[in-house]
Symmetry: C2
Subunit: 223 residues, 2 copies
């Protein structure tokens, strides 16, 4: 596969979300451009220059996504983007740390209507507290933390949601890396130190609050 | 204040994070360009064109941020961006829904080292279950949900972290909007319907997983 630069991937992921929303059954009935999407329309929705959008799509290296004068066909573009971004197969993930946060995620759906969760399958949960592992109700098997390496390999788990307390985050992340995990979504408010072949995405509430505030200011500022 | 377009705000927020990381004490000692930041360096780190970066910074409308031939001074740029994005004063927030997820956030720090949380102050928690409100240990006062309007007004709370179960999310969000809240960080996997003057930021685990996977693919793909 060609090596797509990170900013291009991020824009393609955002575009995928837009296309999927527009491809939802209730929208599809409304028609418009016979269902085609133009780079001008994407520019309108995102603020990216249409030349940037065209260049981004050209990374997909598929003749069908080249676009006609009327625009791009979402039915072709959506699977092409999924494939290019590595979202075209199911990946297994686990939850590490089954305190309040981890056990909350263990027992609730992950997306509105669970769209997109077909791409991800919760396979196991881990905690250092053996009692907790035995007592908790769970839709997937739970294991004591020392079994991480064995279980991650056996189930082909690629991703971990890290939900341990802040002080335990670095240690747990190191164990996960040693167990062959390839990516961590970090909910612990702690910066992780990991080998370069393990991807990390930090979900810090402070960052979410900031991103919210910049939208608050632009929508009806009473100040 | 001038009306800065949303994509510019998002880039400025990202730039703020980069600058703050570079302004951390352990980095500052290393020097380099006498502490100045160039648009070429930002292009290197983000992939945005340096002309875009210069234009974004020009929105700040401050003579001091105009930049010298050597680059921009982070000591000037950081407060100018904070001010332009509305991040230059403390905002109070509350947690709504004190089940596993909400009570987890009630009792843990929100950012690594709590940097940046000076901008946000947790002021209260709410739950429809009065027993829960009375029993839970908390660093801030907790109230039954019916007191939302009164408490939000009294404490000047602007933001809510919505942590209720998916089925209760819409109802709780409506009550928050009616109580005068200005922004909601939604941790419930449910799409909210809100008046246009209430900003929403959805934290869906499925979206975080996708964003992680696109980074996994670019860092050491074994496939």
């Amino acid at each position: 596969m060609n090596h797509i630069p990170a900013p291009v991937k991020e824009r393609l992921l955002y575009l995928l979300g837009l296309l999927e929303k527009n491809a939802a059954p209730e929208k599809r009935r409304q028609g418009g451009y016979a269902g085609l999407v133009t780079s001008a329309r994407v520019e309108e929705l995102t603020g990216w220059h249409r030349d940037t959008i065209r260049k981004d799509i050209s990374w997909l290296e598929s003749r069908e996504t080249a676009g006609s004068p009327g625009g791009y066909d979402p039915g072709v573009l959506i699977p092409a983007i999924r494939k290019a971004l590595g979202l075209d197969r199911v990946r297994r993930f686990c939850i590490v740390g089954l305190g309040r946060l981890g056990s909350a995620y263990l027992n609730r759906p992950f997306a509105p209507g669970c769209d997109g969760m077909g791409e991800f399958e919760l396979a196991a949960g881990f905690d250092i507290n053996v009692n907790r592992v035995e007592i908790l109700k769970s839709p997937v098997p739970l294991y004591p933390a020392y079994k991480m390496g064995e279980v991650i390999a056996r189930f082909g788990i690629e991703i971990a949601l890290l939900c341990v307390p802040p002080g335990e985050a670095r240690g747990a992340a190191e164990k996960l890396a040693a167990s062959g995990i390839r990516g961590i979504v970090n909910f612990a408010p702690a910066a992780l130190v990991l080998p370069p072949d393990v991807a990390v995405r930090n979900v810090y509430v402070a960052d979410e609050l900031r991103a919210l505030v910049i939208n608050m200011e632009s929508s009806g500022n009473p100040g």
